[in-house]
Symmetry: C2
Subunit: 203 residues, 2 copies
Amino acid sequence: MAQVDYPEPVRALISHLRQLPGIGPKSAERIAVWLMQQGGGSTLLFAEAMQRAASLVFECGTCGFFSTEEHGCAVCDGNQRDSRVLCVVEQPTDILPLERSGAFRGHYHSLRGRISPLDNVGPEDLRIGALIERLKSGVFAEVILALSSDVEGEATANYLGEILAGFPGVEVTRLAQGLPAGGGLGNADELTLMRALQGRVGL
Amino acid sequence: MAQVDYPEPVRALISHLRQLPGIGPKSAERIAVWLMQQGGGSTLLFAEAMQRAASLVFECGTCGFFSTEEHGCAVCDGNQRDSRVLCVVEQPTDILPLERSGAFRGHYHSLRGRISPLDNVGPEDLRIGALIERLKSGVFAEVILALSSDVEGEATANYLGEILAGFPGVEVTRLAQGLPAGGGLGNADELTLMRALQGRVGL
């Protein structure tokens, strides 16, 4: 007797779900079954949302954030922004938390990733060429590297540091490292404490 | 200055993704960004797979498995099945592992869930009425309760046990509980060992 399996449309859906980041084979199966059990209407609305996002949203050629217009975006076109400061982030998702902090009102540049040899991501996969083009305009006086404080983030910061040395008029800074807000010393790991000590500031 | 946020189509996609089982707000954002970065073509194919699954796949009215036909399914219509044995499972996903075990060649009945007051799932939400209708046909000599060995599975088994007592011609059995294959005694928890001892069989 032939082995019983899911109908082909369900198998195709599962194989698409498995490609999503953080979704394993078991989760993909569970999500597919959940979608099937929601009834067709709700799943069709979901598919439509996906199609709308895929067709209507572009990557801003300047900063790398999402935009519904082919040129420009809500971040780059916002007025009252300090046009002399550029904040370099790894992902477009990093822009919203920085905006919410209220501590930065300059421009952004998303690299669309970070250097990570284990994931086969090299400098040529990042939006570094677009960054150099923006710096050549000469309007920026400071570049803030707002990258992760892990190995890949450090490697990307070091690589960018060498390139940015070619723009002597541009000051290059990076985010402070230290104790997170609300965290006691008991919860901080040794590396965090070491960096908090090294970066200590006068009262 | 207005707070920057994702364009509306991206926000709509994130809110759909957040409803999926096991997907939190952070994962939903990460998956949406990943989909956006795949480029439109790949996301449109995904949406199409979702639409095909939603439009072409039905729940079999008899066993509850997925089917591409409005009546019947690959499981119910398979020949060479033992028509006297019915295996009751919680989810349609439980059918494939049982099939793969090769140890069962009877018919199936998916309840589409299990009794779980914490999740607001009561007996009336399950396919118990359809189960009773199938048993009334009188062809089944045995019902195997292949439910989870946790609190909700036990509660569902007890509830079904009372209902099935109304069919005196039907023998009701359940899956054995004990050591999993390949597991040493050191890895087994106390409850598993207790059940393995209680269910010990002659050599």
